[in-house]
């Protein structure tokens, strides 16, 4: 056994953090509320529209325009210290009138707490919410994926573009409920696009500018790229 690292028994939690418990047999609704919810109510007032406990986890509904402030306060405040962003995602319900929810799963490693922050976006309004990239660097790819799958614009994200689908994907946002399972285009059209993809144009103009490689490309390809062709990733 090597000796160059130490074994630690407890987690990274502080000494006064509650002991870990297995959440078994928690009720569907109700139960112990995360103390951060009350602190948020006190701090932000009516920006917190609703607090509920579902299967042992506390949901905090915030107004979308205040989401960044709320999360920044949760991150910075010494009594909260939600320093770990587990996940950023969104939910669209089957009910067509119900708004889309953007969800942040936050963890406080020092206090062993888990909080789910939700912002409801009306479907008819532009799907926009402020990016938390300035607080958590891990939001970079998670928000890009959320944008890719739901079309939610994260204002303030430094590089918001598709991540799992290719940039020229024109069929829409796959995880939206109005998106059919097989895609919007016909199989014939999907096949035609796949066969017509230009594997040479796999670099973005930004990448080609790295080495001034653009000028070294064949003339014909340069003209095609200059014309905005970006088929294939």
């Amino acid at each position: 056994m090597s000796d160059s690292f130490e074994l630690q028994y407890p987690g990274s939690a502080l000494g006064n953090a509650p002991a870990p418990v297995s959440p078994s047999n928690v009720p569907n609704r109700g139960g112990e509320v995360n103390p951060s919810a009350a602190a948020l109510r006190e701090q932000f007032g009516d920006a917190i529209s609703r607090v509920e406990v579902v299967w042992g986890d506390t949901n905090v509904y915030v107004r979308p325009d205040r989401a960044l402030d709320v999360i920044r306060w949760l991150h910075d405040d010494p009594t909260q210290r939600y320093d770990y962003l587990s996940d950023v995602t969104a939910v669209e319900y089957r009910d067509a009138d119900f708004p889309i929810e953007v969800i942040w799963h936050l963890r406080s490693l020092p206090f062993r707490r888990f909080l789910r922050v939700k912002a409801q976006l009306e479907k008819n309004a532009p799907l926009e919410v402020t990016s938390v990239w300035s607080i958590y660097k891990c939001a970079d790819w998670l928000e890009r994926e959320c944008f890719d799958m739901f079309g939610i614009k994260f204002v303030g994200h430094p590089d918001l573009r598709r991540i799992l689908m290719w940039e020229q994907y024109r069929e829409g946002f796959p995880l939206r409920k109005d998106f059919p399972l097989r895609g919007r285009f016909s199989r014939a059209e999907q096949l035609r696009q796949a066969l017509a993809a230009n594997p040479e144009a796999r670099y973005s103009m930004e990448e080609l500018s790295i080495a001034d490689a653009f000028e070294d490309l064949p003339t014909e390809m340069r003209s095609r790229l200059r014309g905005g062709e970006r088929t294939g990733e």
Partner: protein
């Protein structure tokens, strides 16, 4: 003193003969009078290339990218200035597919996302589904699920170890690791019949109980496996090449690692002792006696040490689980999710209707949502499910640990050499099936 550099013929040189007496040409540097002088550095032969950056593309079809990852690198000489990763080549739309499937039908999808940790994913998925149903599995089921998790953790770490060794240039540990992995897959095969895609769990229980004598085979594996870890440890940990190729690479400090959302061995190598099994335990992990290894420097070498120690700790957990495995049913007694006995389903009308409705319509959880996290070999793996009361989830989301871990690669490789990019990328332990989903 004026010097000249010239090459003289061996015939004229007394030292120009090698040990076997064969003539050889030796360069001599002499002063004008023929006396030897110190050699000066040769004039710069190569043109000055400073300022010109190069574009290098790695992947998506490259063995060192562990799948279909594509990295576009901007190089200054051999130093990486910028790294632009591209993912998505293996996108299967599992999250979309999950919205069209019943909870038990989603399980085969979890086999295929992080395919090195298939059993662990099955367990995580039903952990979330059972939270939605409000079900607590039986004691025997919980212990068997812990065994499944830890076995697949060892298997996943062995693949990581073997492939990383190959990336860095050692081939032998790969064979040792894959031999042990084969034993694990034999155990899985004798349990459920499948090897890579076992789909071992069901909501409320397991697909199958362990067969007779299986526990004995597990104990044999537990007894023999640590010797292999020790052997690889002896070969690599103090190996000059291994240390030279891994130490000080891709350093993430503790604060950075938390802020970039790293989890699992990546986070613990940076000195943050966050382990879901300890901090937010599930399946009675708080009652098992095991340690969480943490590193200090957060570099590739510490990640290697942490993963090696995690395999030993997993063996400890396996040992305790095998000792405490109670008798009893593996499925909960809950008609909402568990099929009736097969003989009853073919002989009694009520049981047949029950069977039909469970298979055709599927179990229906109450309205609600659940985010469960489990410690996968890659890190914190989360399953987030939202139910609207029907038998299919409104939203089924995987929180992929290696996706988030990989998002930090531009930061980690910056300023390192091109050959170190391979070692840093290997240390993240990515599985593209999970990243692209």
């Amino acid at each position: 003193m004026a010097t000249q550099k010239r090459t003289v013929d061996v015939a004229l040189s007394t030292t120009g003969v090698d040990a076997q007496g064969r003539p050889q040409r030796v360069p001599l540097v002499t002063a004008d009078d023929g006396s030897p002088v110190a050699v000066e550095a040769p004039p710069m032969m190569e043109p000055d290339l400073a300022g010109e950056h190069m574009l290098i593309n790695i992947g998506p079809q490259h063995p060192a990218t562990h799948g279909v990852l594509r990295l576009v690198l901007e190089l200054d000489g051999e130093t990486v200035v910028r790294c632009i990763p591209h993912v998505g080549y293996l996108h299967c739309g599992f999250e979309k597919l999950g919205e069209y499937r019943q909870y038990n039908q989603i399980l085969p999808l979890t086999d295929r996302e992080d395919y090195l940790n298939a059993m662990g994913n099955n367990v995580g998925m039903v952990l979330g589904a059972e939270r939605l149903f409000g079900i607590e599995p039986t004691e025997r089921c919980k212990v068997l699920r812990v065994i499944a998790c830890e076995l697949s953790r060892i298997a996943s770490h062995l693949v990581w170890l073997g492939t990383t060794c190959i990336d860095i240039g050692a081939f032998t540990p790969f064979l040792w690791a894959f031999q042990q992995r084969e034993y694990i897959y034999n155990l899985i095969e004798s349990w459920v019949g499948a090897r890579l895609t076992p789909t071992i769990t069901r909501v409320g229980g397991l697909a199958a109980d362990i067969p007779d004598g299986w526990l004995q085979n597990l104990r044999t594996f537990i007894a023999k496996f640590p010797a292999t870890v020790d052997e690889i440890d002896k070969m690599l940990t103090k190996n000059g090449i291994w240390v030279g190729r891994t130490i000080g690479l891709g350093v993430m400090t503790a604060d950075e690692a938390i802020n970039w959302g790293l989890s699992g061995p990546m986070l613990r190598a940076s000195g943050v002792a966050y382990d879901v099994r300890k901090d937010f335990p599930y399946y009675d992990y708080e009652t098992y006696d095991f340690d969480v290894p943490i590193g200090t420097n957060g570099d590739v070498y510490d990640r290697y040490l942490v993963r090696m120690e995690e395999m030993r700790q997993s063996v400890r957990i396996l040992q305790q689980a095998a000792d405490r495995l109670p008798d009893g049913p593996i499925n909960v007694d809950d008609p909402r999710v568990i099929l009736p006995n097969k003989s009853k389903a073919t002989s009694e009308m009520e049981s047949m209707i029950h069977h039909f409705k469970l298979v055709m319509e599927g179990p229906r959880p109450p309205l609600g949502e659940a985010y469960v996290a489990m410690e996968s070999p890659k890190g914190e793996k989360g399953y987030y499910m939202v139910s609207d009361g029907t038998s299919k989830p409104v939203r089924w989301r995987i929180r992929p640990p290696s996706f988030v871990n990989l998002s930090a690669i531009p930061k980690m490789v910056e300023g390192h050499l091109l050959s170190d990019v391979i070692a840093i990328n290997a240390s993240i332990d990515i599985v593209m099936g999970e990243i692209d989903r």
